[in-house]
């Protein structure tokens, strides 16, 4: 049994210390995903909601796939709920948004990437973030987003084309 599974099993039994260890292991990935997905707006609150939901649903984790993937799935559904609850349409914010990305190797490239991401629809953005940013396979990303594999592949292809067109650094 790997470390995540063992910690998740203990968390399901109500062990808050084990759950805290899981938070420590995965908060970076969840917050990075949500920060880029929400374009920085309310990402930390949403991340907190994700972990609280994961705590409440700890007993539901069946050990199929990775724990991080399970968290990402919760993050995606929480994002969609928050997005719909806020009554926001899928209108795209073309304006540049300023993210604090101190660890990015090239700040200019990071800003370009953020601008390019902002121009994508939420599904394309999420698919690109999962496949390129978090190293998920297409099958994992499809599972996280609750989409058929073929649909996910089409979305990734659209995201790739849009990003490639917008990012001068890629050309």
């Amino acid at each position: 049994m790997d470390q995540d599974s063992e910690l998740a099993r203990r968390a399901a039994a109500g062990d808050a210390v084990a759950f805290t260890a899981l938070v420590r292991l995965h908060e970076g990935a969840v917050r990075r995903f949500l920060t880029r997905l929400t374009r920085g707006r309310g990402a930390d609150d949403l991340s907190q909601d994700v972990f609280l939901k994961a705590w409440r649903m700890a007993g539901h984790w069946r050990g199929e796939g990775s724990y991080r993937g399970w968290l990402m799935r919760i993050a995606w559904t929480q994002f969609l709920s928050a997005h719909r609850a806020a009554g926001r349409s899928a209108a795209r914010d073309q304006a540049a948004y300023d993210l604090d990305l101190p660890s990015a190797p090239d700040p200019d490239a990071a800003i370009d990437l953020n601008r390019a991401l902002a121009a994508l629809g939420e599904r394309e953005r999420a698919a690109a973030l999962l496949c390129y940013g978090e190293g998920c396979s297409h099958a994992e990303a499809a599972e996280i987003m609750g989409l058929p594999l073929g649909t996910l592949k089409s979305i990734v292809a659209r995201a790739r084309t849009a990003l490639a067109a917008q990012l001068e650094t890629i050309q």
Binding site: Q48, A109, Y132, R160, I170
Partner: protein
Amino acid sequence: MIDDNLIDERLTALFAEPEAAPDEAFVGRIQRAVLAEQRMAAARKALWLRFGIEAAGSVAVAIAFVLLGRLGPFTLELGKGPSGPGLAAGLVLLLWLAVELRPVAATKT
């Protein structure tokens, strides 16, 4: 036309961020929220338990009154103890008193 694989490689490199150390402030925030959640769950459980006890007590008292109502005027014959519905109702009332007074006694100590 650039090869898709090449674009994928470049995008992956562009998205890459070094794994940072855990943000302890955020971890602490979650820890506190989980602790609060645990306390709330415990309080909710205690509340439901209390509600169950109160409900059971109320039902018992109601049954006791129904049984007493069926007795008619209370008479105590010499040499005979109370029996039948009267005894049952009395026992139920005693049980209710015990249940009701127990928490009061516990909080006073």
